[in-house]
């Protein structure tokens, strides 16, 4: 696109325009997504409650309801309490929304379809998702309302606590994959659905449910929606908000819901890989031309979106079914159940991958599944000398001046420091697989 614009504009302006267009497109993913989820929520809630939900706006099924709602909210008066800290009160919704929106930068929608391909994708997503709480706390504090403050402090306590088990749960698939790169993790789960990490071992199976519980808690959905518990705190942290700013909070919430279930889809349910490798069976791969590869990825994106929407739907379902927990019960749940279970499962998964490095069934080609475009190599202590030979290939031109992270070598190099390895695992294999990928971007 930049090339197209550069025929009319100076190149820097062309690049700027291209970037802005892409930003706007990306911005629409959470926005339209939030619209869709609000509609889904209203319809699902209505069905659960024996109602019809919106039926009129937009012809059938009220699918334009949120647009109407949004227009209504935009025309509402933007209220601010007299005592409020004006600047923070105005900024707080955007802080939350920015955090939620930024995560979409690192979330791959299909094989290689990611805005910013990060080597630390999982880490980045968890970190940025954790920043959403700032918006809530600032909103609660700046409102100068006791109910808002209650909501903010509850949110703070809850999010800080739940980040621990959430992180532990996420670490398990990362450990199995050996990388924090979400694209690589997704690629490892190619093939049949048995390759999905949730079926990798019993521990990942359990930990998915822990993850989902913690995920619901970290995005403040019922039964963990203490920060906005309407029967206790009026509306919690957004009691004093109206109109557009309130809408922003709402969008951030739905964005986070999508992110949490999207992350679950990638980490546990194969991401964009369907239960059967349909794209491969239909020949929609890069090998059959660019268009076929594009179509295959598009199919993958549908897969991913479907799985994420399914996760969001489950959250909606849970919300309209169960009562809300109390603050001490939420903390008990986190500290007494989720954290220990996650820790034990983490240990179990570690031992499992150590005991069955190639998986129990041995169906996977490489120790950690087939990885397209990423070569994995398992290095054991006895391979120390050959490993140096492999490393030879990695030494590309100009490597004298570049550290390893700059290397575009396609061979993984890993070796063990003799002393360290001997200290940790005297006789067993030292499973360090490094993925230095050619990273030919398939976008």
């Amino acid at each position: 696109m930049a090339e197209f614009f550069s025929t009319y504009l100076p190149s820097w302006l062309a690049q700027l325009v291209t970037g802005l267009i892409q930003c706007v497109i990306l911005l629409h993913v959470p926005l339209v997504g939030a619209m869709f989820f609000v509609w889904v929520e209203r319809k699902a809630a209505a069905r659960i409650q024996d109602r019809l939900g919106p039926t009129r706006v937009g012809g059938m099924f009220g699918w334009l309801q949120l647009l109407a709602d949004g227009l209504k909210l935009l025309t509402k008066e933007d209220l601010r309490p007299q005592e409020a800290d004006a600047m923070l009160f105005r900024l707080a919704p955007y802080v939350g929304f920015c955090a939620s929106f930024t995560v979409f930068l690192a979330l791959p929608f299909s094989d290689g379809w990611v805005v910013q391909w990060l080597d630390v994708g999982v880490f980045f997503i968890l970190a940025v998702l954790g920043l959403e709480v700032f918006g809530v706390i600032l909103a609660g504090w700046a409102s100068a309302s006791k109910w808002s403050l209650f909501g903010a402090m509850r949110e703070a306590a809850q999010v800080v606590s739940y980040e621990v088990p959430l992180g532990m749960c996420v670490v398990v698939p990362v450990m199995i994959a050996g990388t924090m790169d979400l694209v690589a993790i997704g690629r490892m789960q190619e093939g049949l659905f048995t390759n999905w990490f949730i079926f990798h071992d019993p521990f990942t199976f359990v930990i998915f449910f822990v993850y989902f519980t913690c995920g619901i808690a970290s995005v403040n959905r019922a039964p963990f929606d203490l920060a906005e518990a309407e029967s206790e705190l009026v509306a919690g942290f957004h009691t004093e908000y109206s109109g557009f700013r309130w809408l922003i909070f709402y969008m951030a919430e739905y964005g986070s819901m999508f992110i949490v279930s999207g992350l679950a889809a990638i980490l546990f349910f194969g991401g964009w890989n369907g239960p059967i490798p349909l794209a491969d069976l239909l020949g929609l791969t890069d090998a059959n031309g660019e268009l076929a590869g594009y179509l295959g990825r598009f199919l993958g994106m549908l897969n991913f979106v479907f799985k994420s929407v399914l996760g969001v739907t489950v959250m909606i379902w849970v919300r309209w079914t169960v009562p809300r927990l109390r603050i001490d019960q939420v903390m008990t749940m986190c500290l007494k159940y989720c954290t220990p279970i996650a820790a034990v499962m983490f240990l179990g998964a570690t031992l499992w991958t150590y005991t069955f490095p190639g998986g129990v069934t041995g169906l996977r080609g490489t120790p950690y599944g087939t990885v397209r475009g990423v070569s994995a190599q398992r290095v054991e202590l006895s391979d120390l000398t050959p490993a140096t030979e492999d490393a030879e290939g990695a030494a590309g031109e100009g490597s004298d001046n570049k550290p390893a992270e700059e290397h575009a070598g396609d061979v993984a190099a890993a070796a063990a420091d003799g002393e360290a390895a001997a200290a940790s695992t005297p006789s067993g294999p030292l499973s360090i697989a490094t993925f230095a990928s050619s990273r030919a971007r398939s976008r």
Partner: protein, 406 residues
């Protein structure tokens, strides 16, 4: 968050156990608050999440109902009773009508009595359904509220057919009822009851036995039988504390004769189980007699009991003799004297006191509100609970502000 508990070292006031120095916070819960069941205002004194004091402030819905009653003929006052406990208007009508009849010593036909049982028990079901639904709402579960209202709508449909109104009925009046039941009303009512019974089982799955619900309600707001009696609590709140008291059995003859010959047991816990709980979920281990869960459960079981009573009443009504009312003129002089009668309303024992000087219009009218007494215990129950427990406790008392403020 902070706790400031000095109880362990109460003998030495200088030794305090603390975590962080914190100030107490005064919070107004209501009168505009989603879970105060109307316009109740609770002033909470909280230390972080812990509530050290909860003082109810009432009077936002005061409409001088009693004073109005002193300026109207008893039959004209019936619509005002509707507006007391607006969720159980029929029971209010009945209480007032019975009190006036007691003053007038007016016997009403057998058919009218059975009709009154049908209508009163149906309204009890409706009221308890609302109580159940709003309790779910108080605990953060929205769906049971709408399920309960769905069933209540059907009762309101039946009432509408009988008297033309859906909320303020003025149906049961001095001397009986304003109209007889329409032609196919009984069949429709029976069909509704047949359909309601399995639905109640679903509510038990959704709420009564739900793990989170049990955690939120069991062992919360525990009220001993002694406390309940001290504060004058009545109705399900009293029975939830294990006191065997139900005016339909224990009340005055003037009231209980309506229920003469009906088979029913008072819903109260005896030896760890309830009379009609054989097909319903067992009491959870964490539940303590007198807690929110028990109060809720008593209401749920009373719905079953009322279904049973309505069925019996329908059978009797079909074979009963007489008319649906005895006509009472609007300007009929009341005998000199006074009468007080309490009836078992869904929320508790509602009493009407009426003093006459021999005129058509009573000289004094007073109402004894059940919710007023039930609410008075809030302060006692909320001491030291968490903020989230306040709606749980107030909700389990099932109050209606219209009745408290009158």
């Amino acid at each position: 968050m902070a706790t400031q508990t000095g109880t362990a070292f109460a003998d030495d006031p200088r030794i305090i156990e603390y975590d962080v120095r914190t100030d107490e916070m005064l919070i107004n819960m209501g009168p505009q608050h989603p879970s105060t069941h109307g316009v109740l205002r609770l002033v909470l004194r909280t230390d972080g999440e812990i509530v050290s004091e909860a003082v109810p402030h009432i009077g936002y819905l005061h409409r001088c109902a009693e004073k109005i009653g002193e300026n109207l003929a008893p039959r004209q006052f019936v619509p005002y009773t509707d507006r007391m406990d607006y969720l159980a208007g029929m029971n209010m009508n009945l209480g007032w009508a019975l009190a006036v009849e007691k003053l007038m010593n007016l016997e009403i036909p057998e058919k009218a009595k059975h009709l009154r049982v049908i209508i009163a028990e149906m309204n009890r079901i409706a009221s308890h359904l609302v109580g159940m639904g709003t309790y779910g709402l108080d605990l953060g579960s929205f769906s049971p509220f709408l399920y309960a209202f769905r069933e209540r709508e059907k009762i309101l449909d039946l009432f509408e057919e009988a008297c033309g109104a859906r909320l303020t009925y003025s149906y049961l009046t001095v001397g009986g009822a304003t109209h007889d039941l329409p032609a196919t009303w009984l069949e429709k009512c029976e069909a509704f009851l047949d359909q309601l019974l399995p639905v109640i089982t679903e509510y038990h799955t959704l709420l009564t036995t739900n793990a989170i619900f049990v955690r939120r309600a069991a062992n919360i707001g525990v009220m001993s039988a002694a406390t309940a009696i001290d504060f004058g609590c009545t109705g399900p709140v009293l029975r939830g504390s294990g006191v065997d008291q139900d005016l339909r059995r224990d009340g005055e003859q003037w009231y209980t004769e309506m229920y003469d010959g009906y088979a029913f047991e008072v819903i109260v816990e005896k030896d760890g189980h309830y009379p009609k709980d054989h097909e319903y979920p067992a009491i959870p281990k964490t539940a303590v007699l007198g807690d929110c869960w028990h109060r809720f459960y008593v209401r749920m079981l009373e719905v079953i009991q009322s279904i049973d009573l309505v069925r019996q009443a329908i059978d009797r009504y079909r074979t009963a003799t007489g008319s649906h009312c005895v006509p009472v003129k609007l300007n009929q002089k009341l005998p000199k004297g006074e009468a007080y009668l309490e009836t078992e309303c869904p929320k508790g024992q509602m009493g009407f006191f009426i003093v006459s000087r021999g005129e058509a219009i009573p000289w004094r009218v007073r109402a004894r509100s059940s919710c007023f007494s039930n609410l008075s215990v809030t302060h006692e129950l909320c001491r030291g609970c968490l903020l989230a427990d306040v709606p749980a406790i107030v909700g389990s008392l099932d109050i209606v502000m219209g009745e408290i403020d009158r």
